[in-house]
Structure formats: C-alpha cells, structure tokens
C-alpha cells in the first residue's frame, strides 16, 4: 500500500548519518525531524539563521524572534548558534550542509527539478530553494509519486519553471525509492505492498528496473 507522508519521512530518515547537518524544506520534509534515530546526533539548519532547531515550543512559550524557514515558532537545542542570512546561505552554498530534503512539483529523468512556480497560479517566489538545489552535496526529494490528478511527477522533462538543473540524486515517494542516474530513474525499493507494475504505471520518465526490487524496510 502507498505510504502516507509520515512513511515517506520515516524512509528518508534512514538516510541520516551521525554528525549530519541537515536542511529540511517546508511540507513533508519537516516531518523527517520526527524520525531521527534515537541517539543519533543530527543538527537541523534553518535558512533564516539558526543551526540547531529544537522542537516546537510548549503552549504559551512561542517567541516572535525565534522562527523557522516556514515562519513557524520553534525552539533551539543546546549547542545551537544564530547568524545572519548571508552566513546561512554561505553554509548552504559552500557545501557545508550534508543533506537537503525538499518537495517538488516535478522531477525529470536527468535530475532537473521544478518546485516553485506554476505560471498564472502560484507565483510566490523561490525563497531558498534555488540556492539549496544548486549547491547542496546531497539532495533528496520527498514527494507523492503522482499529483492529485494522478499525473506522474517523475517525468521525462519538466514542464514547469525550473528550480535547478541536473541536481536531484534521490527521490523518496509514497510508492518507491528512486535514484537519478545518467540513464534515467533507477528503481531501488518499493513501498511495502506496492508492486513494480504500480510504480511503472505511475512513472512516465525512463524507469530502469534491474533484478528483484526489495521492499522498503520501515
């Protein structure tokens, strides 16, 4: 059966390593914070100038000076640091962030990503997304495999305005884990109970299937 958004976040959390600095985008990516393995040291970076994002504050303790990139109130952990936006994007652009997780409207088989604009409808701006995808060492896209209308989001070529080119390395969807290779989308894992046929039907981009495809272990 297809994963829900928590399932996607849980699978992505398996990519975390001890000592990692991680930037989590708005939406499904933020849920990854809930599944950091016990005892693993992972530091969350917030583009607006915080290293060491903590949990949401207790009731009544929200601080207007302490928010995340999504403008929600947060707390900070022991050992946190505050800094300005140029320093924040210096961390990102300078390759100091180990893992970036973000959502997408479309991912192309060559790793292009569209995630910020639907002409005439959604024109809010790109925020930090272009900086993140252009320079991040390791980018994982968290998304549903198809959109609300059932159209594939893993496609031959992006139709919407691009956020970045040839930058996505891995995609975790509600149906599968997919690696972006020189030859196209390589299927690595199936969501529990989901068949290869279902994944093929949901993918219009070039999908490479070699051998037995294991189920995600979540």
């Amino acid at each position: 059966m297809a994963l829900d958004k928590n399932g996607i976040a849980k699978r992505i959390a398996q990519e975390l390593k001890d000592g990692y600095y991680v930037n989590l985008g708005i939406g499904i990516p933020t849920l990854v914070a809930n599944y950091i393995p016990e005892g693993m040291n992972v530091t969350l970076q917030s583009e607006n100038g915080l290293l060491g994002i903590g949990p949401f504050p207790a009731k009544g303790k929200a601080d207007a000076d302490l928010i995340n990139a999504g403008k929600q109130t947060v707390t900070f952990i022991d050992g946190a640091a505050f800094f300005d936006s140029a320093t924040s994007f210096g961390m990102i652009r300078g390759g100091h962030v180990d893992l970036t997780v973000l959502g997408a409207f479309e991912v192309a088989e060559n790793g292009d990503i569209s995630s910020w604009k639907i002409p005439g409808k959604l024109v809010k701006g790109m925020g930090g997304a272009m900086d993140l995808v252009a320079a991040a060492k390791n980018i994982i896209v968290a998304t549903t495999h198809t959109d609300r209308k059932g159209n594939s989001k893993l496609i031959p070529e992006c139709t919407l305005p691009l956020t970045g080119v040839q930058c996505v390395k891995k995609i975790v969807t509600d149906l599968a884990v997919v690696e972006v290779t020189d030859a196209g989308f390589k299927l690595l894992e199936r969501a529990p109970g989901v068949s290869v046929e279902e994944i093929k039907a949901a993918t219009t981009g070039k999908l490479i299937i070699e051998g037995d495809i294991p189920e995600m272990n979540i």
């Binding site: 000076d65 302490l66 928010i67 505050f82 800094f83 994007f89 210096g90 930090g128 305005p161």
Partner: protein
C-alpha cells in the same frame, strides 16, 4: 553630531517619493515596525522596496502594499500576502523575485564594495536571464551584482549611540547585511543603551554602518504561525 534621533518620524523624514529602501526582516521576524508605520503615515509613493518577504496583508510591509505605496518589490518569497499576489498577477506591481541566498549575498556584496560575484543558484532557470555565465570547478555559475539602496532600515534588539547593534535569535536575518548596503542606514532598536554598555565581542553590526538610530516603541512583534506542542 549625534546619530541618535527621537523617533521613527525623525528617522525617515528624508525618505522621498521614488526612493529605493531596504527593509530588514524574515517574514514578520525582525521587521522595523516603527519606520514602516512612519512611511505609511507620510504616504511616501513609488518606493522600490527590497526585503526578503512582503509581510502579511495587515501587518509589516503589507501596510505599504495595500496603500499602493510601492512601485516595485524585490524579494525572494511573498507567499503570506494575498494582496501582493493579486497586485503581482494583475500587473499593478513590478516584482523581481531573487533566490534568497543570492539576495543576501548581493546585499552583503553591495555593502562591502564587491560589484559582482558568481554563484551557482539559478543557472538553467528563468533567473539566469541574459546574465554572464562562467564555469568554475567544472560547474556553471551566474554573475550577480552587488546591491545597494538609498536607504536601509534595520531593526535590532539593542543598540548604542555609536550605532553598534545586537540582534536577538532569528531576528537578525537580513538586518546585518542591509546595515552596510544603505547609503543611509536607519536602525530602530528595542533598547537604546549608553555607549560602553554593549560588550564589544557581542556586537553583530559595528556602528560604522549606521547613520541614524532611535529607541523604538510599542512593538507588536506579531507571529505568523504560532506553532506549539
């Protein structure tokens, strides 16, 4: 001559129609509330506004927007403001959307005397436009220019009469870089302390960048999304 002025009205009185003004803040966090109100009261027109976001409809920069005081907006994300989206889609407002990291670095470079630099963000997207592209380390980079403004208005937690500033938590964001990039920089602070009280090792923005400073009042410090356990 002292940098200290009485209030926001005193601070913004030189800002005329058609000025380019940078406003610090990320969302509603760290915005210069008093100066925004003063500009609304003065009904200054045709402002080119540079800020990461556009506030919300009834607060922050949204106040200037709904009174149609802005000619152009330069920002990275304007999602929380419906009026903004409407003015953008209808063509009433000229908008330039810039990747947040590039915007931050353009402002820093402008303030620090760097006319141009190269970054990877935006290559292959509509941001690239007809900007110069150069390859470094086997990767294409886009040339971006340093950005300055007639005025920069920043908001800090504490400041002194020399203009030294300290920010609190995530309310620093764009304020530190903007401080250097305004031909004239105005700082509004929650607490104006006597010279000598701020510990030099603690200062985020050295006073050399600040031309006017005043003690702010009645901060609302609204929160866009109160998110609690």
């Amino acid at each position: 001559m002292s940098k200290v002025v009485k209030n926001a009205q005193e601070a913004v009185k030189e800002i005329k129609n058609g000025s380019t003004v940078m406003f610090g803040g990320f969302g509603l966090c760290g915005i210069p509330e008093n100066c925004i109100n003063a500009l609304v009261d003065n009904n200054i027109q045709d402002i080119t506004c540079i800020s990461n976001n556009a506030g919300i409809d009834e607060f922050g920069l949204g106040l200037l927007l709904r009174k149609h005081q802005l000619k152009k907006m330069i920002a990275s994300y304007v999602g929380e403001n419906k009026e903004f989206e409407r003015q953008l889609l209808s063509g009433e407002l000229e908008v330039e959307l810039i990747p947040q990291g590039t915007l931050a670095e353009r402002i820093r470079a402008g303030g620090f005397g760097i006319p141009a630099f190269f970054v990877p963000a935006g290559f292959g997207t509509e941001i690239q436009g007809d900007k110069e592209i150069r390859e470094f380390n086997g990767k294409p980079h886009v040339m971006e220019l340093g950005m300055t403004a007639d005025f920069a208005i920043v908001k800090a937690w504490k400041g002194d009469a020399n203009g030294n500033l300290i920010y609190r938590h995530t309310a620093n964001n764009f304020n530190n870089m903007m401080a250097s990039a305004g031909k004239i920089t105005i700082a509004e602070v929650e607490e104006l302390v006597p010279v000598g009280e701020l510990e030099p090792n603690q200062i985020h923005t050295p006073g050399i960048f600040i031309q006017k400073i005043f003690q702010g009042t009645n901060y609302e410090k609204r929160i866009e999304f109160v998110t609690e356990q």
